[in-house]
């Protein structure tokens, strides 16, 4: 089980959290003007990186706050967590083939 460092509560086990998909996706500023294809891309397409990945989590059974996490999706190593309004930490990004 992952030990996730919630930026508010400190390190807690994975089962207190819920996953929220890729972080830093930019929502189209005027959703009513984008094409169906572009909107579907925004909603459903994720980078799904095999390696260092920036993703959203919510501390569902703790402080109930959303935050971002940098995790290696292959090794499950957690590189750090940061609040939504903060800049991501500097990490050596790895992508496996």
């Amino acid at each position: 089980m992952l030990l996730i460092p919630c930026p508010y509560c400190g390190a807690r086990t994975e089962n207190e959290f819920a996953y929220g998909g890729e972080a830093h996706k930019v929502r189209p500023e005027h959703p009513e003007e984008v094409s169906d294809e572009a909107w579907a891309d925004y909603l459903f397409l994720q980078k799904n990186t095999n390696g260092t990945y920036y993703e959203r989590w919510v501390h569902a059974h703790g402080c109930r706050r959303w935050f971002n996490l940098v995790r290696d999706t292959l090794t499950n190593q957690v590189h750090g967590a940061y609040k939504i309004e903060e800049e991501p930490p500097k990490v050596d990004e790895t992508t496996y083939v």
């Binding site: 508010y8 400190g10 807690r12 086990t13 089962n15 207190e16 059974h61 703790g62 402080c63």
Partner: protein, 217 residues
């Protein structure tokens, strides 16, 4: 109307512990038991949500209303006399009035709402929504460790701390560690009282310790 036909808020209330029929098992003191559970009926509970960065005056208003300074450090609580305030999140607190009076929560809500006039904040009386279970005894940490994913060891869970976590498989609870006995207060959704109570009884069996039901006061 004769007095006997009058209904009061107190007489209409049902304890969430009623279905557990605890009265027949209640004893005085642990008497050697490893863990004691205390049905803490009817506490006044009030939640406060306010962003202290945007509303810096709220902190003083709360101190004026309650005499307590809002704990801003994560996982901490402050207590004074019969009132505690638990940190639930960076802009969320739970006040606990240790008083079974029917209007304990409503009174505090009125007081806080009055002093927070003009402040962008939310004060809600949630006394009916949650139940409190007292947990005490030398094996309390070991038994709770079987129910929650937290590290219950004294090095990472110290008196004065409060942690909100997953209990069993289904429900969230708040654990407030009050002293080193250890004595804890566990707050759960009211409808989960039976589940939490029986789960703790099972955990006590698993930890091979004896469990006692203690009177509230």
């Amino acid at each position: 109307m004769p007095d006997s036909m009058m209904t009061t808020a107190a007489s209409l209330r049902h304890s969430p512990f009623d279905p557990l029929h605890l009265a027949v098992r209640t004893q005085d003191g642990l008497q050697g038991a490893g863990i004691g559970l205390i049905p803490r009926d009817f506490r006044g509970l009030v939640t406060l949500r306010v962003d202290l960065d945007r509303e810096p005056t709220a902190r003083q208003a709360v101190t004026d209303a309650t005499g307590l300074d809002l704990p801003t450090a994560p996982n901490t609580a402050a207590s004074q006399d019969r009132l505690s305030v638990l940190w639930l999140g960076p802009d969320e607190w739970l006040f606990v009035v240790d008083d079974p009076a029917p209007d304990a929560g409503a009174d505090l809500q009125t007081k806080l709402t009055g002093l927070l006039e003009g402040v962008f904040a939310q004060v809600v009386d949630v006394s009916g929504a949650q139940a409190a279970i007292g947990v005490t005894g030398p094996d309390a940490r070991e038994v709770l460790e079987r129910a929650v994913p937290l590290d219950m060891h004294p090095r990472s869970f110290q008196p004065g701390q409060v942690k909100h976590t997953l209990f069993g498989r289904h429900t969230g609870v708040s654990l407030h560690l009050k002293d080193d006995q250890p004595t804890l207060d566990l707050y759960c959704r009211r409808s989960f009282t039976g589940y939490v109570w029986r789960y703790l009884e099972d955990c006590a069996k698993g930890a091979e310790t004896t469990l006692a039901v203690l009177a509230d006061r």
